[in-house]
Amino acid sequence: MPELDVLMRVARSITGNPTDADDLVQDTLLRAYRAIDKFDGRYPRAWLLTIMRNAQINRVRRKRPELMRDPDTTLAVVANTDSDAKTPESVVLDRTFDAAVERSLAAIPAQFREAIHLVDIDGLSYNEAAAVLDIPVGTVMSRLHRGRKLIRNDLTMDPDFERASS
């Protein structure tokens, strides 16, 4: 099943941990199996991702009703990094371009980070990301654009940027 890898990556993004991600993918497959008669055969990945999103909404609602007020919270948790923990080794590693990008990604608003996570890290198309987030494709594009611009601007102001990007 070629879509399994994508489902597992996206599940990891929207749940924030491997155990919940496994459960969510299993839940998604079971729901898909039950709903297979309604599937028209087009865009299987987008169809599965929509099912996954709905499954996740139900799971979060059951576990933590208050989180439903802010669906962006899930990815905010995933992307939070412990920037205070600095060992000599981590300071060296920090001065890489990847580390600078990671810092910038963690610093942007959650809704932009979420779109970037789905498209750039999980490899979804705009349509697929829109299905997961249940927002119009134009909104996905706008969030990507604004999020990446913030990262870009943040990087160019980073004192380590010249070193990291060379």
Binding site: L4, M8, G123, L144, L155
Partner: protein, 93 residues
């Protein structure tokens, strides 16, 4: 790239390229537009640098991808095969 050149050759302006830059980098741009964007990026240093910067950010972000464990993959694959062969397992009913 002056105005007359753009007007007659229908080249894209920096503003037009900026508007579709992200779609271009994500391979989501209308295919007929791609050669025009490429042409502009080769001719315009500022836009070319901008595209390079965003490409580097995008490439870097891809390094954040965490692969599922072998156990997870096996578990999910087993469920998919079970569904395909025998339908929903009793435990999941």
């Amino acid at each position: 790239m002056n105005f007359l050149s753009r007007f007659f050759k229908r080249d894209m302006s920096c503003h037009q390229v900026a508007a579709v830059m992200q779609q271009y980098l994500d391979a989501e741009l209308e295919p007929s537009q791609v050669p025009k964007v490429l042409k502009h990026l080769e001719a315009c240093k500022d836009c070319g640098l901008e595209a390079t910067m965003y490409t580097r950010i995008k490439d870097s972000l891809q390094n954040h991808q965490e692969s599922p464990t072998e156990d997870s993959i096996a578990r999910i694959r087993n469920l998919a095969e079970e569904l395909a062969a025998n339908g929903i397992p009793e435990a999941a009913e």
